[in-house]
């Protein structure tokens, strides 16, 4: 009785396991043999110009949605190259680059001075900007369809100095809008992120006299702030708390169905976040010769959205083998070229064209030693 039942369970369980194994092994796609950059990669036979093999990459989670879409689309562009991108975070991405475990690293900020000594001697790092994106100030006020905020107000809200929505300073920039007396609940991220880094950088630049909390991937927020992990954690706090406001990547704000505030830019306009407004903002940024820049609050153009940020792919200029050079040029070229067309559908902003051209020109600086 019981024994038979157990045997039946065993038979079914065994069959399922065997079936899973058989199917998975037989229908899995061809294996990708990868190369760790330290050793030479598998030589290509036909695709001599574009290289073949696997690119391992890691870094910024802001880039992740773009990388995933690009990797998927790139398979039809060049099937001989496989790309793996892990959104493990800008810090670990850069550290992986220093130790040569990845071919390129995604990073939302340039290599900080504290890390300069970790770059191996004799190696130069090339910065390839790949994507721009707005940071949304998402809020939960059911009866307020448009909310306007100035940098000073944002700094004061996030430092806990303004605590209710019907504060006179907020009302002053929102004439005609009836603001409720609800308490302001600030939603922030407590896991490290490039979003936090660049949001705080924006506040440092745009409201320097007010913002005291510094700029870093992790900020010590006031104790009244509600913290969430990842953009989704912040988004869920905002959604479930009336009167909440928080900073979220624009792509995630859209995906979570949140409303975003209009932010006053240097020209005095109140602009809502959008891919085009972010590109406009980045277009005025001062681009250094190594293509680093800070898009936050960069532009005085009307219609520019000031809380925008950028992400780079970092590569060594000299690579140990020619195949890696070819693969990098091919994939990075795609990210800078046709891949940019994917961005608006993902709610990211494409690079301003002059910046894009400079980045494509920089590709030639990747050489094999």
């Amino acid at each position: 009785m019981q024994l038979r039942g157990r045997k039946q369970v065993a038979a079914v369980g065994g069959a399922v396991a065997v079936a899973l194994l058989a199917a998975a092994c037989s229908s899995s796609s061809s294996s990708s043999s990868s190369s760790t950059p330290a050793s030479s990669s598998s030589p290509s036979t036909s695709a001599a110009t574009s290289g073949s093999g696997t690119i391992d990459a890691a870094g910024s989670s802001f880039q992740n949605t773009y990388q995933e879409a690009a990797i998927s689309a790139f398979k039809s562009v060049d099937p001989s190259i496989t790309v793996n991108y892990d959104s493990v975070g800008s810090g670990t991405g850069r550290s992986d680059l220093y130790s040569n475990t990845v071919l390129f690293a995604g990073s939302d900020s340039p290599i900080p001075s504290s890390e300069a000594s970790k770059v191996p001697a004799g190696k130069t790092v090339l910065y390839f900007p790949v994507v721009i994106g707005p940071i949304s100030l998402a809020y939960n006020l059911p009866n307020v369809s448009t909310l306007k905020l100035t940098p000073t107000l944002i700094a004061e809200i996030f430092q806990g100095q303004i605590t209710s929505w019907n504060n006179s300073a907020i009302a002053a920039v929102n004439p005609g809008v009836s603001l409720p007396s609800t308490a302001i609940t600030v939603a922030v991220r407590s896991d490290s992120s490039g979003t936090t880094q660049n949001f705080s950088l924006y506040l440092e630049k745009a409201a320097p006299s007010v913002w005291k909390l510094g700029s870093s991937s992790t900020i010590k927020w006031p104790s009244t702030a509600h913290a969430g992990a990842q953009n989704t954690g912040v988004a869920s706090i905002i959604k479930s708390t009336p009167g909440a406001i928080g900073y979220v990547d624009y792509t995630d704000a859209i995906a979570s169905g949140l409303k975003s505030a209009e932010v006053q830019n240097k020209a005095g306009d109140f602009v809502a976040p959008s891919p085009s407004a972010a590109s406009l903002d980045a277009a005025s940024a001062t681009i250094a010769s190594d293509l680093t820049f800070a898009a936050a609050d960069a532009s005085s153009a009307a219609g520019a959205y000031p809380i925008s940020y950028q992400s780079w792919d970092l590569v060594y200029s000299t690579q140990p083998n020619a195949n890696d050079v070819a693969m990098l040029k091919s994939y990075l070229g795609y990210l800078l070229g046709d891949g940019q067309k994917l961005l608006p559908t993902l709610y990211y902003a494409p690079l301003p064209s002059s910046l894009d051209q400079k980045a494509i020109a920089q590709l030639s600086q990747i050489t094999s030693s």
Partner: protein, 298 residues
């Protein structure tokens, strides 16, 4: 024997008083209630995972080797890469940890006895069971990944480190249960210690050892933290364990739990259901092995 007539007024020890009986019944009810407290979350999580995962699970989901971008809906692509990754990485970890663990337990039980070295090793084996899984992952990241790159192999090392002390302890307990008379009889016939261990003791304990090992494998298959910094990720199946990044079901669930896109979350539930199914199958097999083969059990 004198007949004792019960005086109605005297306390009758066979029938507990109302108050004592009430306490007893309350205690029994409380015990059943605590079982209910155990049953409820289990039922809750199983029902949720099955309900949300079943709509996503399909043959394509289990075998399609392309993991789509998070933004795409759940009917595109599948978790085949993660299934293969979990099986590969956990399988190789088991291949490393189980023989080493059993041999370690053999040393502790058969050769070590009460010698100081054996007690030290037993002590450290217990210490190792307490190492948090994230620490194992960081350890392998530092000594292996930074030099040899991300790979499924690195993940296997981290999982093997996790499994080793568990296998040692459970095998040790099983070996201890084998009666000494078996060993002594073999020695009496002139066998060497190695032969006795391999041909008499291990077969006698094999049921318990195998089931303990399977439970360790089930535990390893569900681990995420050791894989966070060791295997990177892939978008398509990588059948080569030793080269190149890989992914696993547990890793995918961890990632997808934090995504705002409905498609990614749905894939997460599907992966959760698959992972639970794998763990359950291993557990059922372990129990069957115990029932069928274990001759000496506690």
């Amino acid at each position: 024997m004198a007949v004792i007539t019960t005086d109605q007024a005297a306390v009758d020890l066979r029938e507990p008083s109302g108050w004592r009986r009430a306490k007893n019944q309350f205690a029994t009810a409380a015990m059943w209630f605590s079982f209910l407290c155990m049953l409820v979350p289990l039922g809750f999580v199983l029902v949720t995972v099955i309900a949300k995962g079943a709509s996503v699970i399909s043959w394509q989901f289990l075998t399609n080797s392309t993991i789509p971008p998070n933004i795409l809906p759940a009917n595109v692509g599948g978790m085949g890469a993660a299934v293969v990754g979990t099986l590969e990485i956990t399988g190789f970890a088991a291949v490393m940890a189980i023989p080493l663990g059993v041999l370690g337990a053999v040393y502790l039980n058969e050769y070590g006895g009460n010698r100081p070295l054996a007690r030290v090793l037993s002590f450290f084996s217990d210490v190792m069971t307490g190492v948090p899984s994230i620490v194992m992952g960081l350890f392998i990241f530092t000594i292996w990944v930074l030099h040899f790159g991300y790979s499924g192999l690195a993940g296997s090392f981290a999982l093997a480190c996790l499994m080793l002390p568990i296998v040692i302890r459970s095998s040790y307990e099983m070996l201890r249960l084998v009666p000494n008379s078996l060993r002594e009889g073999s020695y009496a016939l002139g066998a060497t210690k190695a032969r006795v261990t391999l041909t008499v003791v291990l077969p006698a304990a094999i049921g318990g050892i195998v089931s303990g090992a399977l439970l360790a494998v089930a535990r390893a298959a569900g681990e995420t933290a050791p894989l966070l910094f060791t295997i990177l990720t892939v978008e398509a199946t990588n059948t080569n364990l030793f080269h190149g990044a890989n992914t696993s079901l547990s890793w995918q669930i961890w990632e997808n739990a934090q995504q705002p896109y409905a498609g990614a979350v749905a894939r997460g539930w599907g992966a959760a259901l698959t992972l639970i199914a794998i763990a359950f199958i291993l557990m059922i097999v372990a129990r069957l092995v115990t029932a069928r083969f274990a001759r000496y059990s506690q």
